[in-house]
Symmetry: D2
Subunit: 280 residues, 4 copies
């Protein structure tokens, strides 16, 4: 598809580690739709991943930045505006990390330095991004800023740990800053609550494969994948959604509105048949 | 317990079919807490059930009424006010029925006469109750009206059918009339969204036993039972909750705030082990 | 704009009364984006309005139908499939009417025949539409069905009356049928909760002008208008949003996520200055 | 009233600065209902306020603690268990502070050290409290932990600043830890979202008086005051609400379910009459 939905639009895309990343797919789709953009990630992820390959394919530049560093963010917007010769129209925030998850600290045994880092990198970075852009007046009127979230912000999923709290904070920041940025500059700010997605980052979550199976059976349309998420992001960066702001939008095949599906329950019921099989 | 939380309070309790009913438990608890009340139900349920036994135990009278009939409701409030020599302080609405569920019509093959009846009996009856009481000025200032709901009003559970829509309508009516009744007469109106409960009415829902199991494992405190629901209702009828109105309050052991629990997922995972056992 | 987002797509659009209607704008935009569609409305609205003008402009046919009549809906889908030589891809439901509002019955003095009609026309018609399409297998895989809603489904606005309950029921039907239609046919079903819009239908709501003013000042991006709503609808009918279902999507300039804005409060505060001006 | 609802229960109450504090009222009511408790606050607040007077009246001891300090919390639970000769049954968390609000930093010009402190004191302190109690096994089965929140966690109110994000984080922590504490120890964790309340802490919020007026007119039952909040808290600490967990409960006279009331709109409309008065 090449509908030129983003023709003439300039953007900044965080978090394209490799070709499994939602941000990577978003960059590819945005390119197809006529957008130009700057890719960014924290230096260690740039080394670990393959972002330069993406930059080449999409005719983009890469500006390293730690989303938690105000200085880096300032530099990123400065470089981006220099590159484009003007302000940007859209920003994608796809940044999240929890040392408590990585180091397998239970939620009832959190390390508070780790928690501070989780919140700083996964949520407060979004405020820093917005505040930096706001102060530098770096986003055009009717621009669009989106961060990626997950249903754990509203409902507890075991093992998702302090990332749930980070996502709740992230969604709140989107509302709080969405009010200011909308009122003063006509810029909209939203979060997309995406199905669990088997990206490199996502695969750190405990028991992800079983969760993906359950989520797939619960969702009437099945889990949304990274590419489908990228499609939706294109609509949010386009001029067709200019009056949507301060929202958390579920892109999840229906999961968030389900209490119990026939498919998930049918699978669940099998577990009891199984119990009845004598093990000898 | 006999803390006299409802000392001097007069009420009307709908829907006590038999000793499994939430309304039955609520009547027993209200009696223990010092309340007097009128019991009511539709004539057929009075014959089918054992409400007269409850009336005797709790020193109450029974006034038959079809909650969907304005005439019956008018008579009910008239008789109640005559009985008490004044207005009432609380009303419990525990009334629901779906012919589509009973006749096993799928949600994609609803009979619209049945749907109209589902909505009339399970939701509009609550408006009729409130409107009748409002017009007759039958509820004291700071009175409390509660209807029973279920999480299906927000999230789809297969098999719950048109009762989900009825509960959504019921919760909306609680908000809409809660505004009017609060503003004009200081009467509060709420719904309680209760765990699936193995009452006589609840047992009509398809696959209830498996749903109860899943819900039990998902809820950190387990499913709430009818007696625990009755305890909570007492607080809502008491003077300790006078500023709570237009709310849907989840009384469900935490289910509504869960995405996935370790217990439910552990059981779910067993279903796959089971698949792997060769059947020969 | 002509991005061909709906190239090759066939649809049915309810409710285009005149050029102020959201459905009218949606039809114009869908036409620009390459869609073909059938226009429909109830005969009295066809006579009152100017739908034939729209049909001519967009190269469409008009098939009269009462959305509350199963027979009419069956005929509508039959005629549409004959016209297109196949199934449809999208349907817009923009149908609402309350005799209680029209006849100025207060919410505490509803006429229950009117209420039944409000629910039938404004909410159950959506179920009838979906059930008819489902039974006739009239919608292609990955098709999209959208109904228009309003924030009154979640929060009470004085004067909106029984339409609030109808919208809550409508949103519930979208979830309930969205589950079935997604699971069985990969068709998605959503509602769009739109800013108050000065359409011919909307102008029946009491005090609409003052509400529009308040809503405008509360929403950081201002109220969304009919044309902007139509833009958003295009994205929902397109292939870019295939995994969004069972959602109520707020298209309202941020209103739904606001508690109080500086602009609305500044205006509100003036009311007190005013009180202080001596009237002599 | 002295219904002995909390007879035999032991608790810990944070945040009773002076007799305007919600925590102060909660302590008085808990005492009336038969509870014993330990009062706690950060040393500077103990000096600034009159907590010792309350301790005397309620026959309590005061154990100073900074809710953000793990060491202090450990000492608090140790001292409390020593005092009671056993575990506690309830804890009230009423702790919040924002230097960004105090220093009048706009939300688009936050100081991030201040933000870190806001989150640490107002939200993470709740996790620390829960984790400390959990590790020390300091709360009895069916115990109840409550933190105070505000609707700003869901909807943006200008001027509430980074406290909105702190409250969103607080409510998420209540869910996340409520799951663990419920599952492992049958302890429930909830937040109460209270009307704006003219406490000493609350009065720091910009334009509080006008917000209180608007909120009063929007809420059908008017704003809930500190004493009414305390009444509700008693029910949450009692055995009558044992299956309510992971919830955010609105105690706000109906505000959270309102879109627009007649009273608020009538006042709002006056602002326009005012505009029309010539100023000469």
């Amino acid at each position: 598809m090449a509908e030129n939905l983003l023709k003439g639009k300039k953007g900044i895309i965080f978090g394209a580690l490799n070709d499994k990343s939602i941000a990577w797919k978003a960059a590819e789709k945005a390119h197809q739709q006529g957008a130009e953009f700057v890719l960014t990630n924290v230096p260690v992820s740039i080394r670990m991943g393959t972002i330069n390959e993406l930059a080449e394919k999409t005719n983009s530049i890469v500006v390293p930045a730690d989303a938690a560093s105000e200085g880096d963010l300032e530099n990123l917007f400065k470089e981006s505006m220099k590159h484009f010769g003007g302000k940007v129209d859209f920003v994608l925030h796809s940044v999240a990390m929890s040392l408590n998850v990585r180091k397998k600290r239970a939620y009832s045994d959190l390390n508070y330095n780790f928690l501070e880092k989780t919140l700083d990198i996964s949520a407060i970075s979004f405020h820093k991004l917005l505040q930096t852009a706001f102060k530098m007046d770096a986003i055009n009127e009717w621009g669009s800023v989106v961060a990626l979230s997950y249903v754990a912000a509203q409902r507890t999923l075991y093992g998702y740990n302090d990332m749930a709290d980070a996502k709740a904070l992230l969604e709140s920041i989107a509302r709080s800053f969405g009010y200011i940025y909308g009122r003063d500059k006509k810029v909209r700010v939203n979060t997309v609550s995406q199905s669990p997605t088997p990206t490199t980052a996502g695969s750190g979550v405990k028991g992800l494969d079983k969760l993906l199976d359950f989520s797939e059976r619960m969702s009437p349309l099945g889990n949304a994948d990274a590419e489908e998420c990228a499609d939706f992001l294109i609509t949010l960066f386009s001029d067709l959604t200019r009056k949507i702001t301060m929202q958390n939008l579920f892109h999840d095949g229906g999961f968030s509105s389900m209490g119990m599906s026939l498919k998930a329950m049918s699978q669940y019921e099998k577990s009891f048949d199984c119990d009845e099989i004598p093990v000898d």
